[in-house]
């Protein structure tokens, strides 16, 4: 029964991918070219890493609105460290550390001190953006980037896959083990279902919530590292473009597959990246594609919500009975 439902959901997902792909391909045959598919996968890597991090927070039924700000802060830290001539691993480590620290702060403030997640993360995100201005007064950093080798992160290949996509796959594999094949993952889902009963079942709910926020921060900073590697400069607005696609990917995936999971998020990210890539290819201005993305998000949440889909089904049955 469960597997039949999963088959149905997978078929629905494949149909969506096919429809979107065909629509764009019919508009521009360049959509299916190798070059474009590779740039689609690069785009998906950046969005996917941010969305994967967010998935953990959504699984424990919390919200994180700070990751775009944290990502900007991580981007500037990374840029500043490279510009001051430090070796690349240290610089990347520094950028990820920012994500970890802010994530931990979010988690501790929300889980231990019991502050409301939405407003707290909006505030910490705002703080992170403010701090990110300190490195260069808001101008973008690109000194030393060519020499440091960070661009290789974008250009190199591993096992036939572009490096960014390989990183996404690696992160997704790690995330899948953590969320779907370990006690930690079961604990995360249990915490999301009912925090009180999870607590009394002996699950360290607070620690898991802190972990989820930390992973979200790290995911955002890893995503922005790849974005910097492809654009070759760090700037303070780098994270702004992460918020909507990440939320859309997680919710679209959760809507398609019934609950948030690593696979669902990857599926959602693929759909979002296909759409955004297609719109860019057709030279549709960003404000139209943003409008379409948000409409898709609203529709996805509405259609797949159990109450609404129940209503639709009942209405369908009634018309079916009438005819």
């Amino acid at each position: 029964m469960i597997s039949r439902q999963l088959t149905f959901r997978l078929l629905a997902f494949a149909a969506l991918v096919a429809v979107i792909g065909l629509v764009f391909w019919s508009q521009s045959s360049a959509f299916a070219s190798t070059g474009n598919l590779r740039s689609l996968m690069r785009h998906m890597s950046v969005q996917g890493l941010a969305a994967l991090g967010l998935t953990f927070v959504i699984v424990v039924r919390h919200f994180d609105l700070s990751f775009p700000g944290i990502a900007s802060m991580g981007a500037m830290t990374l840029g500043w460290l490279i510009a001051s001539g430090l070796p690349l691993p240290v610089a990347i480590g520094g950028g990820l550390a920012v994500g970890l620290i802010f994530g931990l702060v979010n988690g501790i403030v929300v889980a231990r001190l019991g502050l409301p997640d939405i407003v707290t993360t909006i505030a910490t995100g705002g703080l992170a953006i403010g701090f990110s201005y300190f490195y260069s007064n808001g101008t973008s950093i690109s000194q030393n980037f060519f020499m440091s080798g960070i661009l290789d992160l974008n250009d190199r290949k591993i096992a036939g896959l572009d490096m960014p996509f390989a990183i996404l796959m690696g992160a997704a594999a790690l995330g899948a083990v953590l969320l779907h094949a370990s006690r930690l993952g079961a604990g995360l889902y249990a915490t999301g279902q009912n925090r009180t009963s999870a607590h009394f079942a002996g699950i360290p709910t607070r620690r898991l919530i802190v972990l989820a926020f930390a992973l979200s921060g790290i995911g955002a900073c890893l995503a922005i590292t790849l974005l910097i590697a492809s654009s070759g400069a760090a700037n303070v607005t780098a994270g702004n473009q992460l918020l909507m696609p990440a939320f859309a990917a997680v919710y679209l995936g959760a809507a398609l597959f019934g609950r948030p999971s690593i696979g669902a998020t990857l599926a959602g990210t693929l759909l979002m990246s296909m759409m955004l890539n297609g719109f860019t290819l057709l030279a549709i201005p960003y404000y139209y594609s943003d409008a379409i993305v948000s409409t898709v998000l609203i529709t996805a949440i509405a259609i797949f919500d159990p109450r609404v889909s129940g209503l639709l089904r009942r209405a369908g049955r009634r018309t079916g009975a009438a005819t």
Binding site: G126, G130, L243, S294, D305
Partner: protein, 327 residues
């Protein structure tokens, strides 16, 4: 029944001593900060500066009125600033195309009402999660706003009757400040003295209990979202005349301020419950703080950090006050 209501009122009227300090601490803080600015930079209290501050405070306060009630009712709306930006751009776009200001203002208001209805339908009727829905509708409004100006702002060469209203003043006080003040006074009566307001507070405490008590919660929530969209768009219309242009990205600067004003203001008077008087005070505080900080030569990033910290402090205080009260 009447007895119960009476005891409840008496309890609220007679708070413990420590609470009195909490209630009025925020007003004291505002006073201290403003006096400090005035002594450090006399330009802070010139009539022109006061007029400018009151003007921006009235528009911001108008935008945050609906948000105050939504947060007081335990819901959230993060689309308010984008709705304001949208109606701002609708007005600018219509005036630019040659429409009269009356029609343009109606169009701007209409856009706000439409988005209010959209939020209300999705959240109050279909019971979808408010945060994600308003993130999405906010993004939709923002992208439509950007699309109207094809990504840039629209400059206007006249500000029509809306501009005339904004220019009216009583001494140093702009007329619009008096109007918004009156609106806030009316809202205070509604929230603190009428049943409607009591239900708002009750919804935050225990939604199910309010439903069981026979209150049409969904209808109230519907109204609150429509109200939030309407007042936000009204602020957007005023901003079109105030800035004599349409700015598609004006929303971002109001986002943090709106939430900060509501949550920080919640500390005033009601110790942890968002209320209109608190919001009004907090808006004046924030506008004064940013203005004074600019006079002192602070950079944008420093002000951003102050905003973020204030929001965190506001939330922290609200939660602290609530847990202490429950204990």
């Amino acid at each position: 029944m009447t007895d119960m209501t009476h005891t409840q009122v008496r309890v609220r009227r007679g708070p413990p001593r420590g609470d009195v300090l909490m209630r009025y601490a925020f007003f004291l803080l505002v006073l201290v900060v403003f006096v400090t600015f005035a002594t450090l930079r006399p330009a802070f209290i010139t009539p022109g500066n006061i007029h400018g501050m009151l003007m921006s405070a009235s528009i911001a306060a108008l935008m945050f009125l609906g948000l105050t009630w939504l947060i007081a009712a335990g819901e959230i709306d993060v689309s308010f600033m984008s709705v304001a930006a949208l109606s701002n751009m609708v007005v600018a776009g219509l005036v630019f195309k040659g429409a009269g200001w009356g029609l343009a203002a109606l169009g701007g208001l209409g856009a706000g009402v439409v988005f209010g209805l959209l939020n209300a339908t999705l959240v109050a009727v279909l019971r979808l999660p408010a945060l994600v829905i308003t993130i999405a509708t906010g993004a939709l409004a923002a992208s439509i706003a950007a699309a109207i100006g094809l990504g840039t702002s629209i400059a206007l060469n006249n500000t029509g009757f809306v501009g005339d209203i904004l220019d009216l003043r009583v001494g140093v006080v702009p007329l619009i400040a008096l109007i918004v003040g009156a609106l806030y006074a009316a809202s205070w009566v509604v929230q603190e003295r009428l049943t409607f307001g009591h239900y708002i507070y009750a919804m935050e405490q225990n939604r199910n209990a309010v439903v069981e008590a026979g209150v049409p919660v969904n209808r109230m929530l519907f109204l609150l979202f429509v109200l939030s969209g309407t007042v936000s768009s009204l602020a957007g219309v005023l901003l079109a005349a105030n800035l004599s242009s349409g700015q598609p990205y004006l929303g971002t600067s109001y986002f943090l301020d709106g939430l900060t004003a509501v949550l920080l203001g919640g500390m005033a008077l009601k110790v942890g419950k968002p209320n209109v008087i608190g919001t009004l005070t907090a808006v004046i505080f924030l506008i004064g703080l940013l203005n004074g900080a600019a006079l002192l030569g602070w950079t944008d990033s420093q002000r951003q950090i102050v905003r973020g910290s204030l929001l965190l402090i506001g939330v922290g205080l609200v939660v602290f006050a609530r847990t202490r009260r429950k204990a």
